[in-house]
């Protein structure tokens, strides 16, 4: 569906080196079982304990990276979510060939900071992935560079050869789908959506962002978009959701038009609970006057699946200002 022809996330020299490795590894790779490290970590995939910590951290008035520093601190630090030796997969929104201030893609400064926090918490490797809608989106969104600067690597998707079929237990419309093998195998999944208007989903945020993890996006559109969006987390919920609301596209989303209204509330919402994160984002979007906040059906569906807590009055919230 998309082609990031340019987004080789490694240097040419490194590529050549690795290509050389292939030849050497050819014989070896065929006789060896799959890299055991990936599976050895599976046991470590546990939900972070929420005892004592805020359920939601809401931060405002700062640069995206600084707001993250404050927010994650309030949630108990990155060490609460990342264990030593973890393979971490980030899911920013890098879907459009669009610069950060257009509010269509996650702020690169935030993405970079998240990568750095992951490594500081002892992550072994950090990858980022998005099945984008236009080519060159990784590069032009600035996210490719941000991930690289943080020391992570961006996984290119040109074909589905690295995708594996998975079942969605309890899914109403999405019962099985193909995800990149990193989605299936990574120890931790961190969701970094941007809050924006979306012409068919109402608003796009944490739940909608996970759609970029599957190969066949058109299945969602064919089989009740809202239900599929709500079904996917039954397969895998992110360990942490970081909602970028620094720039917010108020209309014309998800791609944005030249005439789109771009707001600048300078906010960020963090929660391990994907429903809470979206509920907070939706409430804020309503207050900001973002279009489409009336028709966010997938949040209702997610609540039906008991994916998380929607009622913000019942949870502990850390309200912070940088």
């Amino acid at each position: 569906m998309k082609k990031n022809r340019n987004d080789f996330d490694m240097s040419r020299r490194e590529f050549l080196k690795r290509t050389g490795l292939v030849t050497a590894g050819l014989g070896l790779g065929l006789v060896m079982p799959k890299h055991p490290g990936l599976y050895a970590q599976e046991a470590g995939r546990t939900a972070p304990s929420s005892a004592g910590f805020s359920h939601l951290a809401a931060v405002k008035n700062g640069r995206p990276d600084l707001m993250f520093d404050r927010g994650i601190e309030a949630l108990g630090g990155m060490g609460r979510f990342i264990s030593r030796g973890d393979i971490v997969l980030l899911k920013p929104n890098a879907s459009f060939n669009s610069s950060p201030e257009r509010g269509a893609t996650t702020n690169p400064a935030l993405v970079r900071r998240v990568v750095e926090h992951c490594y500081n918490a002892g992550a072994k490797r950090v990858y980022a992935i998005d099945h984008t809608l236009t080519s060159n989106a990784y590069k032009n969104s600035g996210i490719l560079q941000a991930v690289k600067d943080g020391g992570g690597s961006m996984v290119n998707i040109e074909s589905n050869s690295a995708y594996v079929k998975v079942t969605v237990e309890g899914g109403r419309r999405l019962r099985e789908t193909e995800v990149h093998e990193l989605v299936a195998e990574a120890d931790k999944l961190i969701n970094i959506p941007i809050l924006k208007n979306h012409n068919s989903a109402g608003i796009s945020c944490s739940l909608k962002n996970l759609m970029g993890l599957v190969w066949d996006r058109s299945y969602y559109h064919r089989n009740n978009l809202d239900q599929c969006i709500a079904d996917f987390p039954l397969y895998r919920k992110p360990d942490l959701n970081i909602v970028d609301a620094y720039y917010v596209m108020a209309d014309g989303g998800p791609r944005g038009r030249s005439s789109s209204r771009i707001l600048n509330p300078k906010m960020q919402f963090l929660s391990h609970d994907i429903v809470t994160a979206d509920a907070a984002a939706l409430a804020q979007a309503k207050q900001l006057g973002v279009r489409g906040t009336g028709g966010v059906d997938y949040l209702d569906r997610a609540e039906e699946h008991r994916l998380g807590i929607r009622d913000l009055r019942t949870i502990k919230i850390a309200r912070l200002s940088v």
């Binding site: 393979i87 080519s135 290119n156 589905n160 068919s200 058109s218 906010m267 409430a283």
Partner: protein, 504 residues
């Protein structure tokens, strides 16, 4: 010395040429790719007469150096002929040498370049390299990616696809080239190639050429055996400079200092062959008749509506810059460079139904396989024949190659009562708005409304439409391209709302 220089240039140009067809190259490398493509003679005949003139003059001065350095098919033939082959002088009649090339040229000038490109060395090489890319290189990368993944290294792998028309035509050409190069080295260059035929004319009178010094020559025959063009006749101690491709093999092999490249003493043309050919008049007659047939049959077919020959005549989507169907078809030599490099995977080679027999291999846009990337204008910058004219990115964004049509009764929102919005989400120009039409038990329902004044026909909506059986939204292609309006109601403004409060 000259041979080494020739080899360096030949292999460098060929290598760049080969690489420039690899489908996964970054778009930014388009400049280098277009350079090697635009140095090609045949596509330039209609686009760039100055370049053609320069090559003709250079050939008149130095012989057919073009044929041994810039032509990518030269390298292909050298590889196919193998090492240490022995050749011999080959006498060719005018008919053998010029009939096919003249037909090709006639077809090119008459507006059937794709048919002419069956013997155009550039386009032919292009299709062959594209096929190698698809059949060998992409599968290799896919395999490498698979192996590297088991070491937790993730490289880009690409969908492997087979464009059978390109592969078929490459296989036919390859078979022909193997036979010809095995029989007699560069037989192709001197019997079928239109560029070779055109350059052989000034080369006959070349000022700098290879010549035999009869006093030193022992008639050992070493030069004749190494001459892949079959241009050296040792028994007559003569070199046919119209056939010579200036590869400098002979002057390197001569041990008696009898064969040298240099200024010719007497500037009279070597016309031994012309005089020997008694049926010259006959040849001209046949060539004229052949050319008339080559041009006439498709023209008649077109006027008579014989669709199997000239295509269905209905509009086929062609890339921005192609201006109109007639412009495009009269320039495209189907080299497949744009097809190979299209990042949207929307350019595909036509089989016979779209443009007819004479347009096989010419690209068309298949919106069920991809869409024209809004930010990309790569094909327009690559095209060596001017079939796709160069466009600035901003201009390209307004070129209207067709318009989207929406058939509500096929739309998934209508048939299933579920939300979708795939087309509205992807539309790059804001030509699609989603309007609320009510709600169902499944949720709120919105369907697309198309503002055709903004639609450029990029096909993104058709490509992502999940109704695959019969597109609920599709592009109706224009035979002549138009211009779309830009949807720009207000400049972007970022409201500086600092210190707003949390909503919860």
């Amino acid at each position: 010395m000259m041979k080494i220089l020739r080899r360096i240039i030949q292999w460098t140009v060929s290598a760049v040429f080969f690489i420039s067809f690899l489908s996964f190259l970054p778009q930014e490398s388009g400049g280098l790719s277009s350079l090697t493509a635009k140095l090609q003679f045949f596509p330039a005949v209609k686009r760039f007469p100055v370049f053609v003139l320069v090559v003709l003059i250079v050939t008149w001065l130095f012989g057919r150096v073009y044929c041994s350095t810039l032509c990518p098919l030269a390298t292909v033939q050298d590889v196919l002929a193998g090492r240490n082959r022995r050749f011999s002088f080959r006498k060719l009649s005018m008919l053998q040498r010029y009939l096919v090339p003249l037909l090709s040229l006639a077809a090119l000038l008459a507006g059937f370049p794709a048919a002419a490109s069956l013997t155009d060395p550039y386009s032919l090489s292009g299709r062959m390299v594209s096929s190698i890319n698809e059949l060998a290189i992409l599968p290799f990368i896919d395999l490498s990616g698979m192996i590297l993944r088991s070491f937790s290294v993730y490289i880009s792998t690409f969908p492997v696809q087979f464009r059978w028309i390109t592969i078929l035509s490459s296989l036919v050409s390859l078979g022909l080239l193997i036979i010809l190069s095995r029989i007699g080295g560069r037989l192709f260059c001197n019997t079928l190639c239109p560029v070779g035929a055109m350059l052989s004319v000034p080369s006959r009178w070349a000022i700098f050429a290879h010549r035999i010094n009869a006093d030193n020559c022992t008639a050992c025959g070493a030069c004749e055996k190494i001459c892949k063009a079959g241009a050296i006749d040792v028994s007559a101690k003569n070199i046919d400079s119209s056939k010579c491709i200036s590869c400098f093999n002979c002057s390197t092999v001569c041990r008696y200092d009898a064969l040298k490249y240099g200024r010719r003493q007497n500037l009279t043309a070597d016309t031994s062959e012309l005089q020997a050919d008694t049926s010259r008049r006959d040849f001209l007659k046949k060539a004229a008749a052949g050319s008339a047939a080559a041009v006439g049959i498709p023209l008649i077919a077109r006027s008579q509506g014989l669709s199997f020959l000239s295509g269905q005549g209905s509009a086929v989507a062609i890339p921005p810059g192609a201006v109109s169907r007639s412009h495009f078809l009269s320039r495209c030599t189907s080299c497949s460079l744009c097809i190979s490099r299209c990042p949207g995977n929307v350019l595909q080679p036509a089989a016979f139904s779209r443009y007819g027999l004479t347009g096989a291999g010419v690209p068309y846009m298949d919106f069920n396989r991809g869409s024209c990337e809004y930010e990309c204008h790569l094909c327009s910058s690559l095209c060596p024949g001017g079939a796709i004219k160069p466009l600035l990115k901003e201009t390209k964004k307004q070129v209207k190659i067709g318009e989207a049509r929406f058939i509500r009764k096929f739309c998934v929102v209508e048939t299933d009562g579920t939300s979708c919005g795939a087309c509205g989400e992807i539309c790059p120009t804001g030509a699609i708005d989603m309007i609320h039409i009510g709600s169902s038990p499944e949720g709120e329902l919105e369907i697309p409304v198309i503002h055709n004044q903004y639609c450029i026909g990029c096909g993104a909506c058709q490509f992502v439409c999940p109704v695959k059986e019969k597109n609920a939204i599709f592009v109706e292609a224009f035979k002549i391209h138009g211009r779309a309006e830009t949807r720009e109601e207000a400049p972007v403004e970022i409201s500086e709302e600092t210190d707003s409060d949390f909503a919860f």
